[in-house]
Symmetry: C2
Subunit: 425 residues, 2 copies
């Protein structure tokens, strides 16, 4: 690396650290805890005021626990963090856990009364992820044992022994159901990627053979069935036996994806999911003790596709989605994809040494710091138009939690430090 | 100072800083902001959970604004502090200010609806104090102008031109009223001491002649009428023309003092108010530019009375109250007196050089750190028995705000630093 590149990366490091410590974490330190009934509340408008939505989603609780634990485990300061986490875990166990039918409810009222009692596996993956990270931070055995217990529950009730992988949507009594009225059951990349992430952290915690095996299996499944290695693109939805199908809006959602009536054809790919997959996968390999070099054929095609088609070289930022072979079809800029792309492109430089990926990183970092961050508050806006104009201006919802933004900002700091240190060795 | 004394004070300094940064401020950073409707919420139980009380008191809003501004102005870190203060000021102006009848309401519901529309001067003194401190921190003109406007309002509607001083309780339309059904109007040391504190900070902000004059007048009134300089003790309540009367429970209260039916005779004095008065008074002299040495005859008798009768040399801590000539009569240990006594005794050492006051400081600091702080949460318990057993276990109410504990802890740090530096010069 040239001296000028080193000093450019040092400048990004400084800006990012400063932003994390003085803007982003402080916003959530003040706002994340809901002290009336306990747990976390992430529904905030553009001005940092609570919106009218008072529910608490399973996802927001699990992701808050993960994110605060993660920031602290990486050495960042979260005032009162241990106490904040403790009360969050208590609220979660007390109000979401269904002691009769097992598993955890999907949504509760702010006081903890159940509101949507379905059992959604996407949420359970974040439960394992959050509890494992918390146990790694604190050594807490109750959290560790619960993460293990939920892993076992997934193997027993959710895994598909016939075609492999995991189903997604269940009713309160863990009866499998379709994710919306008119389609049968399905499987998805989204859920399997987050299960990979969860099993990685669980295995990091336990080093148990069965956790390792489940992690390796889900990784192989993703790259065998859900990612096309020639184009370096993921597909979203599948039949139970892994035929790609159109990606449609589900009855139970955990985000605000935009769908036509017919859904999205199988030739549409999500740049954000693809690039997120690369760094989560390499992290899993690190935890498994497998050298990164062995994974180049899996990640490089994704890097290249994202670099060539996902990055907006005119206005900056990462597009939402596009053709698996061809150009972007949705050119808005959503918050979470920017976070994942910053990490992914730094990783791409770390494993390939190709400087073009640092250009992609800078492009997205500049876009985020110039357009996406609401500097008045510290958190990111939800959605911008191609040119950066504001579309969705809120700071958080039950689904837009601070998981992507804080994890992303922390990881950017750690990856840049690695790049600078590597260069100095 | 001997080397061993210096290293002892350095040890207290380290412990106190560590506690402030890692326990006390973090608790309130997380809990003080009420993000649903804005403003501050200080009703928390022993476990740091919100209690059922949802009202917002004028006092809690003003004291929160003062305290956060004060901590920041002294250089302590309050994550997101400017944003937190800004929303607090907005909630205050929007919901407490009575644009028709002037002045500010006493209590509003959590959403800002008026609940108790009386105009209480104790609260207005903290409004001037809080807004002035905020303006000193930020340079904000709106806050400065409002502090000045409320000062003028007090001179116009609340001051007693005949017998001097200020009345205390008014209805919504600023009609003077008795503080409870069966007694007429009265004046009190408590309110005048806090007006002195408010006028000090206002004068520090404006350097205006009329603010200086009002400050000097209230100081002289306190030492002429309300403090007995022979015994070094304050009296609590007075007729309009300054005859001491029994201290009785009022209809409108801003604390949880314990009263018999007959109230407290005029020979009962509050150790906490006495020692608080000394350091607030010396701070006023500093701001007025009057050398501290000129005040020895006013403060030393109070130091000695508090040292001899107020400090519990067996169990530690400061008693609540006792005979002006004689022993303690209420030997419980309440939170705020401990904070004020720590500051007062450090000041006593600074102005007299007498090491016995450092012993009194250590006594109380040890008691606070061993018994009063709820280490699980970071804030102090409200009331302990003589031997330190827990009586009131909550962290905050509409009246127990974090003003005494945080200001006290910040000031202890600043005073110890002064002691150590003075010694090294």
């Amino acid at each position: 690396m040239s001296d000028s590149l080193v000093s450019e990366m040092q400048e990004y490091l400084k800006k990012t650290k400063n932003y994390l410590d003085n803007n982003l974490i402080p916003f959530w330190v003040v706002n994340a805890v809901e002290s009336r009934y306990g747990g976390f509340q992430t529904n905030y408008d553009r001005n940092g005021k609570r919106t009218d939505i008072t529910e608490k989603s399973f996802l927001s609780q699990c992701r808050s626990i993960f994110t605060i634990s993660h920031a602290m485990r990486l050495g960042f300061n979260w005032p009162n963090g241990e106490q904040v986490l403790k009360q969050g875990i208590e609220f979660l166990f007390e109000n979401f856990r269904d002691n009769e039918n097992d598993g955890y409810y999907w949504i509760v009222e702010e006081d903890g009364k159940p509101k949507d009692v379905n059992k959604i596996i996407y949420g359970h993956s974040f439960l394992i992820y959050g509890l494992s990270e918390y146990a790694l931070l604190t050594g807490n055995d109750e959290a560790k044992n619960e993460a293990i217990r939920i892993f076992d529950l997934l193997q027993e009730k959710v895994a598909d022994p016939k075609d492999k992988g995991y189903f997604e949507h269940f009713d309160q009594c863990f009866n499998l159901k379709g994710a919306r009225g008119d389609i049968g059951t399905h499987k998805s990349l989204d859920v399997h990627m987050h299960l990979m992430e969860a099993f990685t952290t669980l295995y990091e915690l336990t080093h148990a053979e069965n956790h390792k095996q489940a992690l390796v299996e889900v990784i192989d499944l993703i790259f065998d069935k859900m990612v096309d290695q020639d184009t370096g693109t993921g597909m979203a939805m599948f039949t139970n036996d892994w035929e790609p199908i159109s990606n449609v809006e589900l009855d139970t959602v955990w985000g605000r994806d935009r769908f036509d009536e017919d859904g999205k054809a199988t030739d549409i790919t999500s740049y954000g999911h693809n690039i997120e997959l690369t760094w989560l996968y390499l992290h899993a390999q690190d935890v498994l003790g497998i050298p990164r070099e062995k994974s180049l054929d899996r990640v490089v095609p994704i890097y290249n596709h994202t670099y060539e088609h996902g990055v907006d070289w005119k206005y900056g930022g990462l597009y939402v989605e596009g053709k698996r072979m061809g150009a972007a079809t949705e050119v808005t800029k959503e918050f979470w994809q920017q976070a994942e792309a910053m990490i992914g492109f730094l990783d791409a430089y770390l494993v390939t040494g190709d400087k073009k990926y640092l250009e992609a990183f800078s492009n997205i970092h500049d876009f985020v710091f110039e357009k996406m961050i609401n500097w008045e508050q510290g958190e990111w806006f939800a959605l911008l138009a191609e040119d950066g104009e504001l579309i969705w201006d809120y700071m958080g919802t039950s689904w837009k939690v601070f998981y992507h933004t804080i994890r992303g900002t922390c990881q950017v700091i750690k990856k840049i430090e690695k790049i600078i240190n590597k260069d100095q060795v």
